[in-house]
Symmetry: C2
Subunit: 342 residues, 2 copies
């Protein structure tokens, strides 16, 4: 194990002080060109590497940001994180990732751990809503650590957010289904305590009302975001006396389950029933019967979240700043909802 080289070692080598070495390395203008060069050369020769930990302790900046997501192995979150990493990399920031698995205790634990690790900011998508977390959020803000929510947000003073317009996405998707001639559109929803799901529900509802169709709350059903639940609920819908002629799902996975179940019932898509999902997961375009979905541009969301963080860091004022960025969703129309000539 090669011994660690510090600025003291290179100071000793040159018979100068560590302070001078530090200044030279940091391009302090008060240092003469010669010593600066000398220091640079011997630093390189001795293979010196700055210990960021010491710097962090001294400066109070760790150059680490914490990113908290419900889970990593979903294309959406992975893409957001990719965006964050790519945007932050040029600034020298590193990304520490935490998963909550939708467990609010884990969320609180992660926040505390990140705070103790002295991260310079926390970017997160909340997993749940409860008053306990609000205390955690307050703790972050009290420490003057920038907190930014992306996608799944809570409404808290002083917290910036980056989201897509979920209402709009759902509204457009539903309007599209209506334009295809669908008159009885069911909605596979999700936990509406979470804002994005509530907004999607509201957008769906508004589109129906705006079109003069009958709104039937009984065909709005809460589902867990997976294929099995999509199938199960769709089965119950198809068995109704008055089954729907379209399904708008707040998740691509439940939409897929719906499609499988519809086919199992011998019905045709999109002729008999149209289906649209939400998130534009990669598989939706790979399917034989490609699935209509709402794209959330996760990469851009990640980059934007990082940008907001950088802005926040650069503000000198102690004033609480908050910025609400709302990205536009893009409806991607595919076979699952596109009727030929109607």
């Amino acid at each position: 194990m090669s011994k660690k080289i510090t600025i003291y070692d290179i100071a000793k080598e040159l018979n100068i002080t560590a302070a001078t070495v530090s200044r030279a390395l940091n391009n302090n203008p008060k240092i003469s060109k010669v010593t600066r060069q000398l220091v640079a050369d011997t630093a390189a020769k001795m293979n010196y590497k700055q210990n960021k930990l010491a710097l962090a302790l001294k400066s109070g900046k760790s150059y680490n940001v914490g990113v908290i997501v419900p889970r990593l192995d979903s294309n959406f979150f992975a893409s957001v994180i990719r965006g964050i990493e790519e945007e932050l990399h040029p600034y020298g920031y590193h990304v520490i990732i935490c998963q909550t698995r939708d467990d609010k205790n884990l969320e609180i634990e992660n926040i505390d751990a990140l705070l103790n690790a002295q991260v310079d900011g926390i970017l997160m998508s909340i997993s749940n809503v409860s008053t306990e977390q609000n205390e955690s959020f307050e703790r972050i803000l009290k420490k003057n650590v920038p907190l930014i929510f992306f996608d799944r947000k809570a409404n808290i003073d002083g917290v910036s957010t980056v989201t897509i317009n979920d209402f709009q996405g759902a509204y457009e998707a539903t309007k599209h289904l209506i334009a295809q001639g669908c008159k009885r559109i069911a909605h596979l929803s999700n936990n509406r305590l979470i804002e994005i799901f509530r907004d999607r529900y509201l957008g769906y509802k508004q589109a129906i009302l705006d079109s003069g169709l009958e709104f039937d709350e009984s065909i709005v059903i809460e589902a867990i975001s997976n294929v099995e639940d999509g199938r199960k609920i769709t089965k119950s819908l198809l068995e109704l006396d008055n089954p729907p002629d379209a399904i708008f799902s707040s998740s691509d996975f439940t939409a897929l389950g719906a499609i499988q179940e519809i086919k199992a019932h011998g019905l045709k898509i999109p002729e008999d029933i149209c289906v649209a999902g939400f998130a534009n997961e990669p598989f939706t375009k790979f399917m034989e019967l490609a699935i209509t979905s709402v794209d959330q541009s996760p990469l851009e969301m990640g980059k934007m979240t990082a940008k907001v963080f950088i802005e926040q860091i650069n503000k000198k004022e102690i004033v609480k700043i908050e910025k609400k960025v709302v990205l536009n969703p893009k409806l991607i129309i595919r076979e699952s909802s596109l009727k030929k000539q109607h």
Copy 2:
């Protein structure tokens, strides 16, 4: 902004020394029950939080590990990272993620940055092979920082690896195609300087030779791992005078491209041509025509990689230890290669 509370603050409050506070907080047995309790109480009251940065500088352990992958938004890598995070979380380790985007300069840069940040270990999947990186790897080892490769490895002394048996996976997939009656199996390969792709190629080749079939190098073609390249190359294969009756692809994405192209040519799968991929990406099972693929159990790979790291950390010896874990692949047979009654 609430002022930061240190052990000095709580020491002053109690008219004792910071050292005593530190000891009490760390449950040092030499501290009396009363003071320990007193310290604990006032710490809680004053809302004290340990500064991990100071601890890290002092102890030389940052409790951060760096994870370097080519990209984040692939289900495989995201799942591996999930496994790493979940396994490491109970030990108090945090995961810093870096992407190389298959750029070796970025890879080297990331390694240096992680080293400067004093990570306790580096877990990575290499993006390329070149002598320049070897210097980086040497730098890691010289600092006595555990280095563990997963999936895409290089063969370096003192470095542990966690991989799946790619040869075996490819061998079984090819054998399966042969068992379906296929006699002329093409292989969509990938950069064979990377060991996993070379091994898949070799497994494929061995299966053909072991079965007494003719091995034809001209239908082994290197592709980039995406749908477009899969289509393009498959097109050229189908236009041969002597087209293949099966395609074994080292990537699910090229396998999907192959399927699309085969259908576009009016051929039937699996009746006319069988197709198998590699990686068991989620979409392979979602497809209408589900794709046969080789599962790499990424979650387990991640957990295992983390376990090997923990083991390595706990070894007291300075001796270089290396462990080579090889996980078993699982062939998942689906419609794209399963002929009915032949």
